[in-house]
Amino acid sequence: MGKERSKSKFVGLRVSEEQSQVLSRLQQNSNLSKSGILLRGLELLSEYYSLGLDQPPLNLELRNLEAEAMRHAQALRQIRKRGEAIGQMVQELSNVDKIIDKHQANKSTLIQILLDIQAQNHWLPKPALTWVSERLGVSWSEIYHIATFYKAFSLTPRGRHTVQACLGTACQVRGAPRLLEKVMDVLKIKPGETDHDQRFTLTTVNCLGCCALGPVIVVDGEYYSKSTVKELERIAAACE
């Protein structure tokens, strides 16, 4: 790959001009779609480096494929050189190692360890979970049950900005569902989802304890009360 001069977009992913041409040629010569090419490439890389990506489920729609390709690519921060990918993986795993050591590699602190990994990475990457499973001696079923049981954890990368809408009873009674609708309209995602550009993750939460401001939303730790659609658009636009 030569020096990148200009940036291009391939299925929403930023790649150099040369890379984009190579990918387009690969796509023309196969019968995979653009996003299918990306996914296949990531699979090959992952098998090579045991990064642990799954076999794609057989019944995904194209949109899901694109989203999945974006997510994996963003999480691996746009693989350009093989060495960089390994270096990054080693760094991430050693971070996880430090977290496990901080809790004395004690099985009973599994949830605390996962909370720290989630806080550091904004999600639970598979390599991190593999490492936890090996070091603590806990089964995958235990880890998956915990990771899917608790709302704090995400098995897919979360957006750079978190938007939480309070649905506690007091906010509910003051019109929280209507506010949530407005937020969904502005961000174009549903609660629990992250948008395609990975800017926002929208979640609902039960009672932030500032019921006097209800209905409340929190964006990156900043509280907003009774926001109008215009205010929401302004807040969203200010988030890169």
Binding site: D54, N59, W140, S141, Y144, H145, T148
Partner: protein, 195 residues
């Protein structure tokens, strides 16, 4: 082992300390229906079909007999009005989730011809037999629970299942709902990464 005397459906039963009411009843030949119970596995207490009414010191309660330990002087009713109501409703709630199979005949036994409820999925009652068997007997943990509440589900773990399930398949026989049945479908069971 200390001997414990209790009364089940009018019969005096001599059980051993550490037994559950269900074990004592089965030992005495008294029938209590179950769904999520398997002798080889630790009792789970999830289906509540084995609910019985117990009276002790003039206090009456409803408990799951598969997990409640026997106590001296306990009086157990396995077929009271309240118990039958519970069993019938549990079956009525589960029937749409597993319309053919062992639940069908059990439902008829309790006078339930069809259910007033509908369900979106028709293959899993979340009894956990597959999960527990794989964890406790095979020690493989290839299949596990995911999620909670009404979104609770059972999923094959992509890290483990492809390596072990095809050559094992022992949990198939346990499944009352029919989910863990078709071998070609093992790899298509919801992967947690899809969510």
């Amino acid at each position: 082992m200390k001997s414990i005397r209790l009364e089940i459906e009018g019969d005096i039963v001599k059980a051993e300390e550490g037994m559950t009411i269900l074990q004592a009843a089965r030992m005495a030949g008294i029938d209590i229906p179950t769904l999520c119970y398997d002798e080889r596995l630790a009792p789970y207490g999830a289906c509540r079909l084995c609910t019985v009414e117990i009276t002790k010191d003039s206090r009456t309660r409803l408990v799951a007999s598969c997990v409640y330990p026997v106590e001296e002087g306990l009086v157990v009713s396995t077929n009271s009005e309240r118990v039958r109501k519970i069993r019938k409703m549990v079956l009525e709630l589960l029937l749409p989730l597993a319309p053919t199979g062992p639940l069908e005949s059990l439902a008829r036994k309790y006078g339930l011809e069809k259910s007033r409820f509908t369900a979106e999925r028709t293959d899993c009652v979340l009894c956990g037999l597959c999960v527990r068997y794989c964890a406790e007997i095979k020690k493989a943990n290839a299949i596990g629970f995911v999620g909670r509440g009404i979104d609770r589900d059972v999923a094959c773990l992509p890290e483990v299942a492809p390596k072990v399930c095809n050559s094992c398949r022992e949990c198939f026989a346990l499944c009352p709902g029919g989910k863990v049945v078709l071998e070609s479908e093992i790899l298509l069971l919801p992967s947690v990464w899809q969510k």
